[in-house]
Symmetry: C2
Subunit: 214 residues, 2 copies
């Protein structure tokens, strides 16, 4: 459906190949982190050779920065759309916050986006990636504060839930849903309306893993 290994070695325009690599990198970086991901894994996921990945982006660091920027861009775009819709509907800040929350949760459909962001946030010590990650986080805060017009406390609460959301996804806690009672309750209570989507994603992921092994 979405992005299997597909396309094995045919000639494809660089711009299109670039998108494939970015999609693959988003998944791999999101799953293994910046250091844990290898350019070879990204290449295999994109169905091309490792040197091509490096040449296309110059370095692994540049590739990650590009993934980070894309993720940030997708997120800010989604937030601004939600804010515009909220303004058009004449909602109060409470409703606006909820609407943005929905937009955020929708991004889970591509795990790579939220997880690559989260992985970036844990790289604060890195001189270049860390700086970019801080900048991105502050941009999100700024949008909610000054474009959505939410109170500081409201934004902090929102971001808090977002971080738990990301953490549970990174932890693969949904895999324990229905297995462990505490996990089930925690996941239930965290993902709420997006529970079905989340469980569906992890089901697919597990099935894929089993198929690969079997």
């Amino acid at each position: 459906m979405s992005s299997m290994k597909e396309t094995s070695a045919e000639r494809i325009p660089a711009a299109e190949r670039r998108e494939q690599i970015l999609a693959a990198a988003s998944q791999v970086f999101g799953e293994r982190g910046y250091v844990g991901a290898t350019t070879d894994l990204v290449a295999k996921q994109a169905g091309i050779s490792q040197p091509y990945v490096v040449r296309m982006f110059g370095s692994k660091e540049n590739l990650f920065l590009e993934v980070l920027s894309r993720a940030l861009d997708t997120l800010t775009r989604a937030f601004r759309a939600a804010i515009a819709a909220s303004h058009a509907a004449g909602e109060d800040t409470e409703a606006r916050g909820s609407r943005i929350g929905l937009a955020y949760a929708d991004l889970i459909s591509d795990r790579g986006i939220l997880l690559s962001l989260m992985q970036g946030f844990l790289l604060g010590h890195d001189p270049v990636i860390g700086e970019r990650a801080r900048e991105g986080f502050l941009e999100i805060y700024d949008i909610m504060r000054n474009e959505a017009g939410l109170e500081a406390d409201h934004v902090v609460t929102f971001l808090s839930h977002g971080m738990l959301f990301n953490t549970l996804v990174a932890l693969r806690m949904p895999e324990a849903y229905g297995v462990d009672a505490m996990a089930t309750e925690l996941v239930d209570c965290t993902f709420r309306t997006k529970l079905d989507t989340v469980l569906h994603i992890f089901e697919n992921e597990n099935a894929k893993g089993s198929a690969a092994r079997g």
Copy 2:
């Protein structure tokens, strides 16, 4: 004062050396993550040779697992102490939640603890570390739910704030305090009563870095 490079090559009992290594590893793993940290960096931080680190724990993975377990243990101990104190004082669940929150925030005095935990949470894909991290997270949830007696929603809100707390520390956002207006407000609003502690820690860290360079 706390843990500089100290003790250069003297003979020290294995048990004590073990603690030094664990303290060093907690810092290094918290800062660079499991993959990004090297046994050599841990060794240098502990003031010993790299092979000794590996031999003492068998493998880097075992070392991380031990750091993770220690961090979890410190945290659960602090929580249980707070819960006991709250019960002794006959507080309601609201006050109990606040008290546990204080206990959590106090752990920031050793950045390694919270950051190593957080780094562990992002390793959900790892068969062994991921499993241990899930188990640890659920143990925390279980304590708050069944020992502190908090409602599920209350616990989720609590954990949410904790994850934002950790994320901002990992991002080194406090370094932008007083520099960037948005960052200042965000940090202010997230760390609240622990603001002084947090800023103090980052000041020391920066000073140490400058001293090392200069």
